[in-house]
């Protein structure tokens, strides 16, 4: 019974649509859960700026406020370990997701970001067996997710040596930054056959290619509604084909249920894996339909889904 337990969401960044969708999913799922008396409270906390230190302070405050569990999307996999350790010592259950932490006392709901990078190249190899030049758009330098996805992409290129990465820019996971960076390097690049991305930057890349009047390569998309819509338009107009891959913001709700289960006394393995959300040429329309205008393709989890994930891992 967890009806007297209180769960907090500690979030380090709210400045993009992915994080906003994550917060919305949290609200839609935990609201009814609180009403139904499954838990006593499920409050969301966001820091003013995306920084590990500020989030560490936030975690310490949550400990002080006596939450029973903290669900955490971490700014850094290691820099919060000190604070997480303090939480564990104070008897607080910590469940990290998306941005996971390495502190052993915490649970991790991880996405295989490396694989997320690799499948992009695999897909391209399938589409373009003869290979060609790729442009890589990376995220924010020095951040774990960026390094992982990029490592996966490079592993993919090693696996399919017919591809060469001829240019790499940092798009900071933002459409306008990606557009700016791609526009700057594009004039000096040879013919590009594919663009490998990290999510949230595909539309910006497409805009830059369009503006430069270059032939449109296969741009891997990142599940954003505007990306999907652009893809759909191209598909209808010229049969453009690509794929889209990213992590679903609703994974926050999975983390919520996992935390609830741990508080309920269930044995849960420390490491759980969630699949990333892939959209293909065939599922495009269906996904576009369910994605809110200007939002991100999403999946929300129920208690049953969570139990299934836990049992799979166990």
């Amino acid at each position: 019974d967890t009806s007297d337990k209180r769960i907090a969401l500690s979030n380090n960044y709210a400045g993009n649509s992915w994080r906003q969708a994550m917060l919305t999913s949290w609200e839609t799922v935990t609201g009814p859960a609180v009403e139904a008396g499954i838990v006593a409270a499920a409050d969301a906390f966001t820091t003013a700026e995306n920084s590990a230190t500020e989030q560490a302070a936030q975690i310490q405050n949550l400990i002080l406020q006596g939450y029973d569990a903290i669900v955490l999307n971490a700014a850094s996999p290691t820099a919060l370990n000190g604070a997480v350790r303090e939480a564990c010592d104070a008897g607080v259950t910590v469940v990290s997701f998306d941005g996971i932490v390495t502190e052993p006392c915490a649970w991790r709901i991880a996405v295989d970001f490396r694989e997320m990078g690799r499948v992009q190249v695999e897909y391209l190899a399938d589409r373009l067996p003869e290979g060609g030049n790729l442009l890589e758009i990376r995220g924010l330098a020095g951040v774990f997710v960026d390094d992982e996805i990029s490592a996966g992409i490079h592993a993919g290129v090693e696996q399919y040596p017919q591809f060469t990465i001829v240019g790499s820019v940092h798009g900071d996971w933002a459409q306008d930054v990606a557009q700016r960076a791609v526009a700057g390097i594009l004039p000096s690049l040879p013919e590009i056959v594919g663009v490998v991305t990290q999510g949230g930057d595909g539309y910006g890349a497409a805009q830059a290619f369009q503006a430069a009047g270059r032939p449109m390569p296969i741009i891997i998309m990142g599940n954003r509604q505007d990306e999907l819509l652009w893809w759909k338009e191209q598909k209808d107009a010229s049969g453009y084909e690509t794929m889209s891959v990213s992590i679903a913001p609703g994974v926050s709700t999975l983390a919520f249920w996992v935390a609830q289960q741990i508080l309920d006394g269930r044995e849960v393995p420390k490491d759980l894996v969630v699949p990333f959300l892939t959209i293909t040429q065939d599922t495009l329309e269906a996904n576009l339909e369910t994605t809110p205008v200007g939002g991100v393709a999403n999946v929300e989890y129920t208690l049953e889904d969570a139990v299934a994930v836990i049992e799979d891992a166990g």
Partner: protein, 314 residues
Amino acid sequence: MTLLRKPWIWAWIAAIVVYAATIAATAGASAAGLAQAAFTFAAFSVIVGLGQMFVITLGPGNVDLSIPATMTLAGTVSLKLMDTADAMALPGLAVALGIGAGVGFANYALIKALRIPPIIATLALSFVVQSAAIWTNRGLRIKPPETLAAFSTGNLWGIPNLAIVASLLTLAAWVLLERSAWGRRVTAIGQSLPAARRAGIAVHGVRLSAYVLCATLAGLCGFLLSCFSGGAALNMGAEYLLISIAVVVIGGSSVAGGNSNVPGIWGAALFLFLVVSMLNTYGFGAGPRMILTGLIIIAVILAASLRGPASRGM
């Protein structure tokens, strides 16, 4: 030789050198494309840079840190209002400018009423504005009206429309700074606030108008940027905080206030875009690229000091 004594010449020289180095990498093939991209993206930096310049001219401690948040709020709200309807383009623009002006008023109200240093007042207010942007539509990305999107990405005789808009604004800013009584008053305040007051200048009115102008330009920039990049994102202004300051100071305006110039802003904006393009083109990784960016900025300022008039000494 007197040209070499102009404070703004060094930013232009740097931009040209970097441009030449970039097209050298492709044996000149990219010349036109790169120039076009540079002018397009420099336009945004110039628009916010002009506003920031007037604020920085007001003297030490005067800087507007609310530019990114203002851009975001103006972009989000105006796109939401227009809701892709071409007929709403003008009201949308008016709202974006109005939001900018409102933020400017609020900035100065805080500075004046609470007597807090501008750097802190604008930072604090930017948090509130950012929250307002999140609150209005939680980061959903709405597309701009078709005509606006076409205008902002279009060219006139090969010159990007945005560059033309920014050039007109630059001309207006030049007249304002160098020829108008208002510009004289801003410059006087920047040299010594008490002296300006005793010389009979209505210091509060002038400072207020500078802050309002700056924020209005930020609103305009947010509007144009979200039309250009296909929608407003919550983090779309983030880059422009540093850029707006950097283009002013690299452009040869005095950070201590009272001594600014307009042409340098264009030089510095082009330079900042091109330097990243150059380093991307040469394939530098994130680390070395940042180090080189920093060193090149310092080199430019050093070169200016070797040839320019001694800035110290009474």
